[in-house]
Symmetry: D2
Subunit: 427 residues, 4 copies
């Protein structure tokens, strides 16, 4: 059973001006403890160390995705498009709001080291013994299952899935605008209202009127710019590297039986990869930062040093390499080891393209639906067939190799340093 609120509620939002809530179910979901928890998880992980404004949370992003979805649907309804399945409205809105509810702190690093996966957790929260599940069940007993289906992209109706997850979905539209707003860069701005106006439900897909091609190009270029200028920024990547090393070291110590001074619940469960839903709830970014702070006081010099680096933003520096020479790297590791610097934790090669970021590549990302243009003859064409610009960013060559290293440590060993190494790091 679902019903409308007596009076529309609003949230003041810097990106969409206001976010409008009309359904009791949406209002109740926002007020669950699991959704409120998103306030304590930053949207952009380590990016605030590069762009200090990027301190916004997944809470505001999730509201934003909901709002963009609401706008798309209300446009479909206002224009009475026949191909739009009206009965799916609430399902779309709930899935939009909840698609990120499973995100943990510093997701990329944690997921890498401990094998958690935020989409899986979103589904667990939707289906498990949670306040979110309780609210959803009030709509109908099968409703949580349907919401989880949309999040997991297994729901039978593609059109519902694609609103939340495709190459032109509410998720991306919100995060590009939001991340641009909070970082203060203006690469991410595109004309949202224009995009919404050219979207159409059509035979089970969301398509775009071909007169809107340039608007979509503009949106895709915003994504391109945001990836290369913000998300892949070397300083952000450096913080990510340090964080990875921290978790790697902590896990190694734990597996080794190291006696931590402080290992607050639910860290042991995380290390043993057997978190429950209610333990996961505790694992927010405040908790993780507090843990890093506590670990600066641990006896293991590597763990303690890495945590201080992260908290005080004494990150690794980098050099750019055109190509990667395995033997050179091996040599480098040996030299570091000889200086007493463990290369496992103090050296990393990063190559942005090996990240699973999803710059538009038709065919490659099978799970991401392509953008289809609808012309006046009702023909559908995949956009990169018509736009040279989209083609130019579809097969794009990914960045360069960045070699991250602790410059401050090397500086201390200046006299002992091998000349090749000094040249490499311009010391």
């Amino acid at each position: 059973m679902s019903y409308l609120l007596e009076e529309e509620k609003v949230f003041k939002d810097p990106v969409h001006k206001y976010i409008y809530v009309q359904d009791q179910t949406i209002w109740d979901l926002i007020n669950t403890r699991e959704f409120q928890r998103l306030r304590r998880i930053r949207q952009l992980g380590t990016c605030f160390l590069t762009f200090h404004g990027a301190e916004h949370s997944r809470f505001s992003h999730s509201l934003g995705v909901y709002e963009v979805t609401r706008k798309i649907i209300s446009q479909f309804e206002r224009n009475q498009y026949e191909d739009w399945p009206k009965e799916e409205r609430l399902l779309c809105l709930c899935a939009a709001l909840l698609h990120d509810v499973g995100h943990g702190p510093f997701s990329h690093s944690i997921e890498k080291t401990f094998g958690t996966h935020h989409e899986e957790w979103s589904c667990r929260i939707v289906l498990g013994d949670t306040e979110v599940n309780e609210v959803l069940r009030r709509v109908s007993p099968t409703f949580p299952q349907e919401v989880a289906g949309v999040i997991a992209k297994t729901y039978r109706r593609e059109i519902v899935v694609s609103l939340v997850s495709s190459q032109l979905d509410a998720d991306r539209m919100d995060y590009l605008l939001r991340d641009a707003y909070f970082t203060g860069v203006n690469y991410g701005t595109f004309d949202l209202e224009r995009i919404l106006r050219v979207m159409r439900p059509y035979q089970g897909h969301i398509v775009v009127k071909d007169s809107g091609m340039h608007a979509v190009e503009d949106y895709l270029m915003s994504r391109y710019q945001m990836y290369w200028q913000v998300y892949f920024h070397p300083v952000t990547r450096s913080a990510e590297v340090v964080l990875n090393k921290i978790f790697q070291r902590a896990r190694h110590l734990y597996d080794d039986g190291f006696a931590f001074r402080s290992l607050l619940a639910p860290l042991p469960a995380l290390f043993q990869r057997k978190l429950t839903c209610s333990e996961y709830y505790l694992l927010d970014e405040a908790f993780m930062q507090t843990t890093l702070m506590q670990w600066t006081l641990e006896d293991d010099p590597i763990l303690s040093d890495l945590c201080s680096r992260f908290l005080q933003r004494r990150l690794f520096k980098y050099v750019t390499l055109e190509m990667l020479d395995a033997s050179m790297l091996e040599q480098l590791r040996e030299q570091l080891a000889a200086l007493g610097i463990d290369p496992v934790y103090y050296l990393e090669v990063d190559f942005p393209s090996d990240q699973s970021y999803d710059i538009y590549r038709p065919g490659e990302h099978d799970e991401k639906l392509p953008i289809l243009l609808l012309d006046s003859n009702e023909q559908l064409t995949e956009i990169s067939r018509k736009s040279e610009i989209v083609r130019s960013i579809s097969g794009i060559q990914m960045g360069k190799y960045h070699l991250y290293y602790p410059r401050d440590l090397l500086v201390k060993h200046l006299p002992e340093l091998d000349p090749g190494l000094r040249r490499l790091f311009a010391l």
Copy 2:
């Protein structure tokens, strides 16, 4: 000794577009652990529970205050105003950057319960055994003392103090613009460049050309609007009330010898009011939120309930009262107690005006310098003598009484409730 960076550094900032760093000292200060700690303290305390965008930190605000100060000084220098003491440039910039370095998490609540004071802590950090102090001493042995003097408003030159702390200072100019940007409200916007252009150093004061009176009115109205629409928002105040009650309860339990399951360092030192500088460093907002989360698991039902309320945003509701009737309040307390609801922790009257927020009131706030207009005859006049608008907000009557109470608890006791109480709370 102070010197310029070889190459100017910039921070991308959403409010000022870019923040420019030209001095080695400023760069070094930003990279101290004490300054980096400000990243972990929100600028607006509990306000993010009302305006979800308000998640920005004191780190970005501090950079902003520095930048506004830099712009003012560079305007003074470009125009070669004789009354500007050029030799004070670096001192102003350092004081601007560091004036909030002593802020802790949820300052208002913590200061209220534990008697700490952020300005005092700023001075302790400037003067104590800290990285900040070390950087400042490199300029000259007495430089830390001078910076502390400006922050404490005891420095001998009023003009230096007033840049950082007056009715028209860099601090306010930045926070109004910044808080408006991040909350998304546009009441706080005023024409910063215009204000900067009409500011003049004059006989030891910072004054404003009288042709800029309307611009200053606009700035003061922005302040007025931000206070009443953002800072005093009843939901924010409710979160503040809950937080106060939490600390009050925790302190009471501690004093009572309650056996906390978790009482991480430096909480005992905080409770005993004997924090050291390095303990204070640990006390960031991540730590405090983690503590609140841990306390939800404590055995004391009041502490645990209040913490859950805060973290899940199940705050107190409020009714507005035109005036306060002490006997009615007493009765109310008794009725709550009879229902098993402790009125000490579950009832609060809030009256915004008793907060020490500093709406412009000439004469009253002796520590805040008034705004002086300079006319073409070189006469100085305090602005409220010329502007009816400024007068209208100078003696302004402060808000209404808000009575905060836990509606959800009362709803559970509906049948037992006294009719007067039901009427009062519209139950």
Copy 3:
């Protein structure tokens, strides 16, 4: 008969992002020659000589007023407020769109000299033999009369009139935002969406929920700032003075039988005050500027000089006077005359307050409906009774006396100038 467009049309608009047209009647009205003529009339008259961005036309403002009205009504409809007379929708929209259709070029000056009145002309265009009238008659034979009634504020339903013309109407909301955008000042910005959300139809009035009082204060302060910083700017006023003098001189010459080299139609009709609707159509700002340009070539030195001044922005300078001394003014006139400078055309005292600009003054402007606050007890209160800020700008004292004079001419007569005059003009 009225009907909806098959497909919604939009105009890209810098202020409201998009302007949405859903009715055939609105679309047809926009495409009439009389409405298109508004493209050739600047919204802010001589203001572009002070703020060079202020080159926007009455065309865009009229679309904006329409759009704000559309938004208000659509909010009323969405919330299904009972006190809103749904059947008046199209009438409101048409009146909003057309309320300025009778504006001529440089309205203030022309109206002053030739006794035309733009509101009267709006009604003549709505009722006369025009394309506008033809479109309106298609709705119903009496529809033009109703639209004219709303514009003339004689329509029987106050609520309809007040949407277009009151202290809080669509007209002002658009022009404040629009003029702020195009001049580039940000005093005029207020939160339009917020204002719209607190407006209610109530017992035949448009009222404001009292929780929106601060938002209305903010809007009224924007008006105050725009008047004093933009509309009353002394340079704009100076251009206005020169323009007045031009028309005064031309009329004097015409009445005197002066042989103009160029006197394009419909100037003679204008001078004789007997313009027809189709002559009025020709009288746009392009025409008037071309006339001024032609008049620079006339034999009358005063007319020719004044026109050159306007076109080349060699305006009169001004001195500010605290009070006005009639005998001093008389003396001044005599001295100018003695120098061969005709004081009728080369001297003017301007006192902004004697303009009929409508800063909020309850009681005084009988034709402008006051702003009423609706509280939770369904009581209505006029806003200045609750807001000290509104009171402070209600009875505000108007500017100072500005004495405009041709400084460049006086400079040429420097040796002959009386010392008092030199002192007055700081020569």
Copy 4:
């Protein structure tokens, strides 16, 4: 001789916030009649008929180009780049301010029909008997010649020319931002401050640090979007077509000895292609619009009809053609002629790429200097060699064929129309 103003002057500007004038020469140039005339010429010609906000003048754009140039130079000076020839400052600023001073109304159409050329006129105004020339000569006798040299791109120092005229010049940076602001589209926004920060004078060129490549890509994409979404908009092009036809018809009539009712000076001189500088001064957009208005009253039905179309925005409609079939076109012309519709004036094929708009094409536009990236090894590389995106828009295929025709006329002849023609125009 050149000197600084005693006090810096500012213009409020919506795009750059403020425009700063520090030199007496710049101030004097702005106040010349020739520069003030630019207030009466719209920056975007017929574009306001599509985007109603696009009513801004060449006056504001010229100030903007000046301001961008000033900012670039002041950055060069602040960083004390050795490759910057400091003595060229004033020359750059004057050329930037004056480069468009020769623009006439609706430049593209007028130039096409009457063979005038705005750059040539800019030089004539700089060198002729004008107030501009007088101001420039005060700097030095050869200064006007130097300014004209920069405008004509013949000045000996490439670095000076390229600031005002290259693929990355102050002209484009201002017009993209300004046109985006006034139309209200946000495709044209890019990060000006960022671009300025990566520009360097280097061995006689202006180059870009290669770390700024993505910022330049963003700027070039803005240009691409503005061209396709704004400048080449079919409605704007249609107005351009109608205007071309008007001038073509008028010239034909004039050459034929037609007796115009109204042919104000300097139209005859324009028709005879022998305008003097002082006649050119009269030829502003107000004059041209008044002429069009007068011509609606002429006896020639074609001229009168076309002028009404333009003024009332009853433009030609268009159909899009994939390719152009000459024989089909010939047939079409014959059919129109048979209906009494002169195909010379009522049919036009437009193919955007044949316009001399300057989408970035290295090699092709010899007069437009390419953008060079400077890497850390001091190597210069033309940007399209490094950026796939830039390559994708360098060789871009230009639009489609648009066939413009008067739909309203054809509708009147519906029964007589050939079926092929009805199909083509979907009648």
